[in-house]
């Protein structure tokens, strides 16, 4: 397959999967939670849901608190050896936003990290 065709296929597939949502992190029979995450997954996922509720009512301080707890609950259990994982770089943006008082942006960055880390628990 030519590189151009390969690129076209990759872009088409990616376009169909543009937005990560909480639903994408839910385990299914086909993608069960990996054993390395199992004890932490439910707690971290629940805290993510609570953070979503706080974001919905614009309580960003509470959302950041829930997300910090969710990320701490999951810890490094989710780390996958075959993944180029840049979630830590996204967390530097969260910390930077927090320092600047941009709690909404901080919560969004942390939520992205929690969603992606929970998704890695199914790989």
């Amino acid at each position: 397959m030519s590189i151009r065709l390969e690129l076209l296929i990759a872009v088409t597939v990616a376009t169909l999967q543009t937005s990560a949502t909480v639903a994408e992190t839910l385990p299914t029979r086909r993608h069960p939670v990996a054993a390395r995450c199992s004890s932490a997954y439910v707690r971290a996922s629940r805290l993510g849901d609570q953070a979503d509720a706080a974001i919905a009512r614009r309580d960003y301080a509470a959302a950041n608190h829930m997300l910090d707890k969710g990320l701490a609950a999951l810890g490094a259990a989710y780390v996958h050896p075959r993944v180029l994982d840049d979630t830590s770089l996204q967390l530097t943006f969260a910390r930077y936003h927090e320092k600047k008082g941009r709690l909404s942006n901080a919560a969004t960055s942390k939520r992205t990290v929690l969603i992606d880390r929970l998704a890695l628990c199914m790989k």
């Binding site: 590189i3 390969e6 996958h80 830590s88």
Partner: protein, 206 residues
């Protein structure tokens, strides 16, 4: 060989130490075009999504970006596919991926490597890892002074702490990532490069 020729595997393979790594790494026009296309495609629906592929060496040592898209990716991670469809012709020697940030993070560019990028390079025994963040290119090259394996979970926690400490000291995320990437190169016997467009220049060892 002219100085404008793309770097070949022989120049970055089997290096005894980081100071034996080439001063400049140049990529082929085909690879540069793919790097730039993948960067432009890192914002589907205006949301960030990492893109990348695997750098395979042919028998003459030419580097080719293939397996575009890898196995999967998201806003903050990518799982490359290191398996060649033509193993008699190509072998995986590196990975390329983008570091995109969206509206929430001011469309930031110039973000270098994470701790788990470094762990991947070492644990997968690759020669090179390349990242594109906007116009900036970053690269790390493994040498014989690099460890043969890293405890990824431990290293992840250790380096996340280092990144956040840099933010607390007043760095921007971009500055923090470059400071920590340089430190990781020093700790792990890697050569570290920064640049843009067609080439990257060695910054560690200077």
């Amino acid at each position: 060989m002219t100085s404008n020729e793309p770097t070949r595997l022989s120049e970055i393979d089997g290096l005894h130490a980081p100071n034996r790594a080439p001063r400049t790494i140049r990529f082929s026009q085909a690879n540069i075009r793919l790097f730039q296309q993948l960067w432009l495609q890192s914002f589907p629906g205006h949301k960030p999504k990492e893109r990348g592929g695997t750098l395979f060496a042919d028998k003459e040592g030419g580097l080719h970006l293939q397996n575009i898209g890898g196995i999967s990716s998201s806003a903050t991670e990518m799982m490359p596919n290191l398996t060649s469809r033509q193993p008699d012709r190509y072998r995986a020697v590196g990975v390329f991926h983008t570091h995109p940030y969206g509206r929430n993070d001011g469309w930031a560019t110039g973000v270098s490597f994470s701790g788990l990028d470094v762990a991947y390079l070492i644990n997968q025994r690759l020669n090179i890892i390349v990242a594109q963040s906007g116009p900036r290119l970053f690269a790390l090259v493994r040498t014989s002074m690099s460890p043969t394996a890293i405890n990824a979970r431990f290293y992840h926690g250790f380096k996340t702490g280092a990144l956040l400490a840099q933010i607390d000291k007043g760095s921007t995320p971009q500055q923090a990532s470059r400071i920590v990437a340089n430190a990781m190169a020093v700790e792990n016997g890697l050569a570290y490069y920064q640049g843009s467009h067609q080439a990257v220049t060695r910054v560690h060892p200077a």
